[in-house]
Amino acid sequence: MAKLYSKSHEWVEVQEGSRARVGVSDYAQKELGDIVFLELPDVGKEFHKAEQFGTIESTKSVSELFLPLAGKIVAVNQAVIDNPALVNQDPEGEGWLVEIEIEDKTQLEELLSPQDYRSFIAQEH
């Protein structure tokens, strides 16, 4: 299944069943610059839609990470915690941040398709 995006520049990719991966978009990665530190939640924590679930720190800023969908954290990518540069190198692949158990799949419909996201950032610019 293709990735879906939020206006706060996170992506979601449904894996199997109601399990999904979440990360930041390539556009966000470029805007933030060199990522140096990530603060991610513990497995088992639950979040509402659009609730802050962590922070992403670059040499120039600290930004909040918002969960695009309500859900429970089921996995955290240890590789990006050990090596935050991974988010710069492969933001929409190996640089994923967390996996969640989606609470309500209908919320997927409210997210942007890759095309819509592209035109959204074109607009924002």
């Binding site: 140096v36 530190f37 603060e39 720190e57 670059s58 040499t59 120039k60 800023s61 600290v62």
Partner: protein, 446 residues
């Protein structure tokens, strides 16, 4: 005009370049009704000699410590500052530069701060520190705010035996936010009353603040306090005298969470309590919660090692209202003085100095007590400063002063229950004669 190099001709040329007729025209965006229509009611400017003479005359109206055999301490500990330290601080490369925002043009300051950070970590036994805070009092306040950021709890326990001014500053800093400061009594030995601490500890407590030594010079039981606090996952903030720390096991051995304090005793002149620095150090895991600038070591493209300001995303110039602190200007030059002082003292020197203070304080205390010139108050578990009781202290103090002795800090004004109690600090450069003269003078008066 002083310090303005423009000649009338240059001024004219510059105005012409801008297309203005006069200096006044430069201010045309200043609304007319706001303009100051009169001269400031101040004197005319003075020559350098006139100004210096005037200031010297003010300085001469003060009775400075040179005139006395002084035993004043209580947070500010006058001591000899080596000539080499002064000479280094007076170099323009240090004192006329600013925060090293541009690393390549500021490697000197950056390396000096890196070395300062190293010294503070070595002294405290902690992993990380920042480039200095204003003073000991604000360092305690910042530590409390940091603890609150870490565990989001809202209660802080601190000993009433912490410096009275520090406690006042903590109160001021935390007035606007939701945080409860509870003060703990001291026991008959002048240390935090442990049963009271234990009773007040619960899972709402963010941090326990303990001074080492405390305001009365007494050495608190860090180990027990830490054990008690950690039972409730409360953090322990030690407000340490950094010179004393040279004699103490690294505080990390006691699993202390934050060490902060006042740096005056490390090479800073007294200046009426004025220009010192504060420090804050902590464990690696809390690195991103620490306030103030931090210098780190890195490399350039060619692999050459150098220093930069790092982890700046914590700071106000980037994070604005979400910063870990509002601090911008700190006490960088004073932190440099600390590094220079410690470099001159070295491994042996600092311990020798701390031991000299210890021996001198205990010698004087023993003399005073054994000759029954004073009453004991808290006993002798102290390092360099102690409390004794002297009947009619006010009168006795005045008489001592007539004999050119400043006997110490009178505690009655700071703690009403310590009426007639005197806090005596003994500097490491005091001779036996200086100490004996304290004893003999008091002997004559009583």
């Amino acid at each position: 005009m002083p310090y303005i190099p423009h000649t009338p001709k240059e001024r004219q040329e510059m105005l012409e370049t801008i297309g203005k007729k006069s200096l006044c025209q430069l201010f045309e965006t200043l609304p007319v009704d706001l303009r100051l229509r009169k001269e400031l009611n101040l004197d005319r400017g003075l020559s350098e000699k006139e100004a210096l003479d005037f200031i010297k005359q003010l300085a001469a109206k003060n009775k400075n410590l040179d005139a006395y055999n002084s035993f004043l301490g209580g947070g500010v500990y006058p001591h000899f500052v080596p000539a080499a330290l002064k000479a280094i601080l007076q170099q323009g490369g240090f004192y006329t530069s600013y925060t090293p925002y541009q690393a390549e043009a500021s490697q000197g300051t950056l390396q000096a701060i890196y070395e300062y950070q190293s010294y503070i970590c070595l002294l405290t036994g902690m992993d990380v520190t920042s480039a200095s805070l204003y003073d000991g009092a604000s360092a305690v306040a910042e530590s409390i705010l940091m603890a609150r950021r870490i565990n989001k709890r809202k209660k802080v326990l601190l000993g009433r035996s912490l410096h009275p001014e520090y406690r006042q500053v903590v109160k001021t800093y935390t007035a606007g936010i939701e945080i409860d400061i509870e003060e703990l009594k001291w026991d008959k030995e002048g240390k935090i009353l442990l049963p009271e601490l234990e009773m007040n500890l619960n899972d709402d407590v963010s941090a326990v603040v303990v001074a080492l030594p405390n305001f009365f010079g007494l050495v608190e039981d860090i180990k027990t306090i830490t054990t008690l606090a950690h039972k409730h996952n409360a953090l322990v903030i030690v407000v340490a005298n950094p010179l004393f720390l040279s004699l103490v096991q690294p505080l990390s051995y006691y699993e202390v969470d934050i060490v902060c304090g006042e740096g005056q005793i490390l090479g800073q002149r007294a200046y009426w309590g004025g220009e010192t620095f504060g420090f804050i150090a902590t464990r690696q895991e809390f690195l991103r919660k620490i306030p103030g600038r931090i210098v780190g070591r890195t490399t350039d493209k060619k692999g050459e090692e150098g220093f930069v300001l790092t982890l700046q995303a914590r700071e106000q110039h980037i994070r604005r209202e979400k910063a870990t602190s509002n601090i911008c200007s700190n006490q960088s030059l004073n932190a440099l003085a600390c590094s220079v002082y410690l470099s001159l003292l070295g491994e042996q020197g600092i311990k020798a100095l701390a031991e000299r203070i210890f021996s001198r304080a205990h010698y004087l205390y023993e003399q005073l007590v054994s000759k029954k010139l004073v009453q004991e108050v808290f006993g002798s578990h102290f390092w360099g400063e102690f409390v004794v009781k002297i009947p009619h202290l006010e009168q006795v103090g005045k008489e001592m002063k007539k004999h050119r002795i400043l006997a110490g800090v009178k505690l009655g004004k700071l703690y009403p229950q310590l009426e007639n109690c005197l806090l005596v600090f003994v500097d490491g450069d005091k001779s036996k004669k200086d100490l004996d003269s304290f004893v003999q003078t008091l002997e004559k008066l009583i």
